[in-house]
């Protein structure tokens, strides 16, 4: 065990900011600390970095209480990179990086060859060699941040603590910094503990994450365990989507682009969408927003319309991937179509697998149920059944359905003349 945080409680004055936090960090770990603003992430880093003595509890480095060790001893083991603000003094970058050697150089001693070597290496690793003779107060925020990292590396620590080290960096240097940390861990066995705001960066690079909420550690676990819609909702109080293509890739967060709150206007209005292959995506969202209850079918599991329908919580009639629509699904699909006030037929391609859907819609249309056909692509260009679909489609158009040219037109149609056009709805 390299670093052991044991039941640490800290605060400023009388207010407690962090309660009873315990973490064990092993040599070579890459740990991310995430959590909302003011949750105590930075306080945790400050306690671990021997700046803020805990009221209760201990921080042990290799089994020794860091608050009992001399500061210089701790500085040889552990370097810290924070968001620097000071740095207004005309030191050269080389001077600042050389300050990283402070715990290693005896008082009044000159810098040794080893110190110069460590500084040169730190400059090279952080891509700051070209800045070495410039004055630190003349650098940009991102350059300063890299110099701070170089100074920390010049300390030749075993543990590197970072408090939002990427917040001043552009996208390129954010990723480069993270890649550099990965390399340092691999090549030098450096242990890395970092506070990160960007959950996707945290998920992508960290072995495990500490989720801090209201001054307590809420969860510790691998990105797969911790980056979930549920935990993010509970910790940050916001709805996001977590996507994870497979168990090898790290999960990542996508913001819900819009909040869909279903508005019910009196009677429940139900529309059934026959779609597939992404044709339904636009319809689903906008229909929901207009207060419709939406169902869809038959779609294959894994289809993009299926994924979207699942996210939005629609009623779905689904078939297994790459399978033809079976009799059971057809029956369910018909039941839904019967119940719905409208059936929308999107301009989808037809193959052997889904031509059954077209047949169902035709059956409903012939029964006199209201059907809207989005006829935006010529049926000849999307018939992969050897003419069967074209024939059914032709019959469908002749059965008295409404045809529109776009999804929006379909929605407007339903919103506009719903009462007149659908007299048999009870």
């Amino acid at each position: 065990m390299l670093l052991n945080v044991l039941g640490v409680t800290c605060g400023y004055g009388t207010s407690i900011v962090l309660k009873d936090a315990s973490v064990q960090i092993n040599s070579g770990d890459f740990v991310g600390i995430v959590g909302p603003n003011g949750s105590g992430k930075s306080t945790l880093i400050r306690t671990i970095s021997r700046v803020l003595q805990p009221l209760y509890g201990k921080v042990l480095i290799k089994g020794e209480d860091i608050y009992r060790l001399p500061a210089a001893e701790v500085a040889k083991e552990m370097a810290v990179v924070t968001q620097e603000r000071g740095l207004d003094f005309p030191f050269t970058v080389r001077d600042v990086v050389m300050m990283g050697r402070l715990p290693h150089i005896k008082r009044f001693a000159r810098e040794s060859a080893k110190d110069l070597e460590a500084v040169a290496r730190a400059l090279a690793l952080t891509d700051t060699i070209l800045l070495a003779d410039r004055q630190i107060n003349e650098l940009s925020g991102g350059e300063k941040q890299r110099v701070m990292l170089a100074r920390a590396l010049a300390q030749e620590p075993k543990i590197l603590l970072l408090d939002e080290p990427t917040s001043y960096l552009d996208l390129n240097y954010q990723i480069e910094t993270m890649e550099l940390l990965v390399r340092l861990r691999r090549d030098y066995g450096l242990t890395i503990v970092m506070v990160l705001h960007d959950l996707n960066l945290a998920s992508r690079y960290c072995d495990y994450l500490l989720v801090v909420k209201q001054g307590a550690i809420y969860a510790i676990g691998s990105p797969h365990q911790v980056i979930t819609t549920d935990i993010i909702k509970k910790v940050y109080g916001c709805e996001v989507r977590v996507e994870c293509p497979n168990s090898i890739e790290r999960p990542y967060i996508v913001f819900n682009d819009e909040q869909i709150s279903v508005v019910r206007k009196g009677n429940e209005r139900w529309v059934h969408v026959v779609g597939g292959g992404g044709s339904g995506v636009l319809l689903f969202r906008n229909l929901l927003k207009s207060g419709w209850k939406v169902s869809t079918g038959v779609v294959n599991v894994g289809d993009s319309d299926w994924q979207e329908a699942c996210r939005l919580g629609l009623s779905i009639v689904e078939a297994p991937p790459f399978c033809n629509v079976g009799t059971n699904e057809v029956r369910q699909n018909k039941e839904m179509m019967q119940k719905a006030q409208y059936i929308i037929m999107a301009g989808i391609p037809f193959g052997i697998g889904n031509v059954q859907n077209l047949a169902c819609v035709l059956e409903q249309a012939e029964k006199g149920n209201p059907v809207i056909v989005i006829d935006n692509i010529d049926i000849g260009d999307r018939d992969y059944t050897g003419g069967k679909a074209t024939e059914l489609y032709g019959n469908l158009l002749k059965s008295g359905v409404r045809t529109v040219k776009s999804e929006w037109e379909a929605i407007h149609l339903m919103e506009g003349d719903e009462e007149k056009w659908h007299p048999e709805v009870s």
Partner: protein, 348 residues
């Protein structure tokens, strides 16, 4: 690279030392009785064991008395005070990371002034001839002020610099009010009080040098010891802590060192403004912010500057004498403003 720096630094310090020595010789040679510099050097060397036999011939005993009992101690004291004020000014500026800081920033000056004023008044009321009590009283009051300010600023084992600055300002204005109150009731002694407050080296002798030396040595040694920690603390207290600096301990020791130094300066020479504020800035503009170079350079520069200012104070209205504080401000102010205007980027 390092070699270049080393040569450059050596050259800088050689020049500074020569300037200081020259100003000392000029300081000794100029006065009511003008003594040629060559004779000054001769008389000084004749007092160094081993050199005396080469220089003893042809020296005027009157001049020797003037130099050894009056001018030399005065010039030495002036140099020491100049070095002390500049050094403690540089320390406070570094410690507070604040360009406005000067040796008097945490109220040492007001404390010393109150001590001196109280002493002068006590002497007059009870008619006690304790003229030499003034430095002692000033020093005691200065130290008590530091302790008061430090303890007022302490919050749970830490001394945040901002609190310290504010406590210093508050205590300082309180003590200044007390000084004004004393002056209001001082009557006949008003002139003496005002004259002391303006600062100067008129009539100072070896006693003052001896009184200054222990505090000067302790204070400046501590400051030199912690010069690299001061560098790290320029980055901020937390980053310094991360680099292995025991920030609170270093801060406490530096505060005490700089305050002792200032207290010693004030008690032997009154309130001499400007040196402690401006010399560190000037040297920083020339040599950069590295305290390992800055601090010795500041001490040499401050010493030479105050010796020259004291020479001017003696010659401008000769045979009368101006308070040296007026000269430092009159000479240094415009020069500093010139530098400030010429230097386009921030200097601190």
């Amino acid at each position: 690279m390092i070699h270049d720096n080393f040569i450059k630094r050596s050259a800088i310090f050689t020049v500074l030392i020569i300037v200081l020595l020259a100003s000392l010789v000029v300081g000794v040679s100029i006065g009511a009785v003008s003594i040629p510099p060559s004779e000054v050097v001769g008389i000084l060397f004749s007092h160094i064991p081993g050199f005396d036999r080469y220089w003893a011939a042809g020296l005027s005993p009157e001049h020797e008395t003037i130099i050894m009992t009056m001018r030399f101690p005065r010039v030495i004291l002036t140099a020491l005070v100049g070095a002390g004020l500049a050094l403690s000014g540089a320390t406070f500026q570094g410690l507070f990371r604040n360009p406005m800081a000067d040796p008097y920033v945490i109220g040492v000056s007001s404390g010393a002034a109150l001590g001196a004023v109280v002493c002068i008044m006590v002497q007059s009321v009870w008619n006690i001839p304790i003229h030499y009590g003034i430095p002692g009283a000033a020093f005691i009051f200065a130290v008590m002020t530091i302790l008061l300010v430090y303890n007022l600023a302490r919050v749970g084992g830490r001394v945040p610099v901002m609190t310290l600055l504010l406590a210093g300002i508050a205590v300082s204005s309180l003590l200044s009010a007390l000084v004004s109150l004393c002056m209001f009731f001082s009557g006949d002694q008003l002139h003496q009080v005002v004259f002391w407050l303006m600062g100067g080296f008129s009539g100072r002798g070896w006693d003052d040098v001896y009184m200054f030396i222990p505090y000067g040595v302790i204070g400046s040694t501590l400051i030199f010891i912690y010069s690299r920690e001061l560098n790290a603390m320029l980055l901020g207290e937390e980053p310094a802590q991360h680099l292995g600096v025991e920030v609170e301990r270093v801060k406490r020791r530096l505060l005490i060192a700089a305050a002792l130094l200032t207290g010693a300066c004030v008690s032997v020479s009154g309130l001499i403004g400007f040196v402690g504020l401006v010399i560190p800035h000037l040297v920083r503009m020339l040599f950069g912010p590295d305290h390992r170079i800055l601090l010795p350079a500041v001490a040499l520069f401050g010493a030479a500057f105050l010796v020259i200012a004291d020479v001017l104070a003696r010659v401008i209205i000769a045979p009368g004498e101006l308070p040296v504080g007026i000269v430092t401000a009159l000479v240094g102010g415009p020069f500093f403003i010139y530098l400030l205007r010429r230097q386009k980027n921030a200097m601190f």
